[in-house]
Symmetry: C2
Subunit: 203 residues, 2 copies
DNA sequence: GACGATACGGACCACGGGTCCGTTTTGCAA
DNA sequence: TTGCAAAACGGACCCGTGGTCCGTATCGTC
């Protein structure tokens, strides 16, 4: 588990270079699985040893890259203004969160794909999933009439799975805005049926 | 694409043996990825050549096994009695279909897992997914007030993804019946909000 | 029983992840 | 500035796995 910071500037520079190179490769190449660790090392102008020392293993590299790219959204969610931030009413924040997730996966298709399925072990063990899930769950909990917010959170997140997004955007050529609208619609429908009858105009 | 039938009895016997051995191994072993092709061959008492000739590649073996195990459900869906068969009213059949999918993945966790993520390329290219999706879509289409039945079908199926099921059943120790109830609930909620207001008591 | 066709099976290959260790760089301190 | 130990470098190397090849064994037919 070699994940602690180094103070040496060459180490830092190399880490940066690897991250950049990997990002470039993942967006460029068709499928995540044909970007090899040796490729990344070469593209970063670095030896394989360096790369593995810095990130542990392939999964570690993916995780680091993903986390880095996710950072802005994480901040927006944790301390930002509505509609993502904490000061948002639940029935608005839930669609916003899922939309953010969708957009992220649209913007980083290959990367999300690589991490979400290629990564040894299910995506559900990753702690970034844990974070999204427990947040979503907590927000759902505040919506009256929705029990099973745990399962519901899983199910909603499943609708933004990277490979589904990739399939729709890639194979089926569904445009970005269409997909966002469809997801928003779907989420609305799930939330709408809280207390069996209740027109949207209230509060 | 070596997939056509052979008339030679040793070939048939071996094919059977491989299928059985693979099934056994997948259910026994913890994770699908630590059952290797060599393992399967050995367990079936067969050479690797035989195995690859019969199924083409790993994905082919998985597909064949999955298809075989799925057969009963396929028949029940295509020509069986309600609630799975074609003579079922849509708002009953949809939950039934998803419940069947869930139960199948519960009964064949490792296998579904292996096929759904390990298989080269996304699960969304597999034609068995295509079948489930287009069927579900068609049924959804008959429910008034649901537009986007295409996306909705994807989203609902995503709630039964093998790795999610595995996570819930394995890590979280959610009991089978609980999970079924949660899914049923969720599906109901999605369907319920068709025409914005409509109490459940009608026809 | 013989013979062509078909299947068998394990040695063999390619390739990708991950390791090792002699060499180089860095930062500190004398 | 020079000395030096600690840290990082990098590419040769190892190993396991999917997949291939081809000489040999089996099948089924005449």
């Amino acid at each position: 588990m070699p994940e602690r910071q180094s103070s040496r500037k060459d180490a830092i520079r190399n880490r940066e270079a690897v991250l950049a190179a990997a990002d470039a490769l993942f967006t460029r190449r068709e499928s995540p699985e044909d970007v090899t660790m040796a490729d990344v090392a070469a593209a970063a102008g670095v030896g394989k040893g360096t790369l593995f020392r810095a990130f542990g293993d392939r999964a570690g590299l993916l995780r680091a890259l993903y986390e880095a790219r996710l950072e802005p959204i994480r901040r927006a969610v944790e301390t930002g203004p509505p509609p993502l931030g904490p000061a948002t009413p639940p029935h608005v924040r839930v669609p916003a969160l899922l939309d953010a997730a969708l957009c992220f996966k649209l913007d980083h298709r290959r990367l999300a794909l690589a991490l979400e399925e290629g990564g040894s072990g299910s995506p559900y063990r990753a702690e970034h999933y844990e974070r999204w899930h427990s947040l979503l769950r907590a927000v759902l909990e505040q919506i009256p009439g929705l029990d099973d917010s745990d399962f519901t959170a899983h199910a909603l997140l499943a609708a933004t799975r990277a490979d589904l997004v990739e399939h729709l955007a890639g194979e089926e050529r569904v445009p970005r805005e269409t997909m966002r609208a469809q997801l928003a619609d779907y989420v609305t429908r799930v939330l709408a049926s809280g207390p069996p009858q209740k027109p949207p105009a209230e509060k």
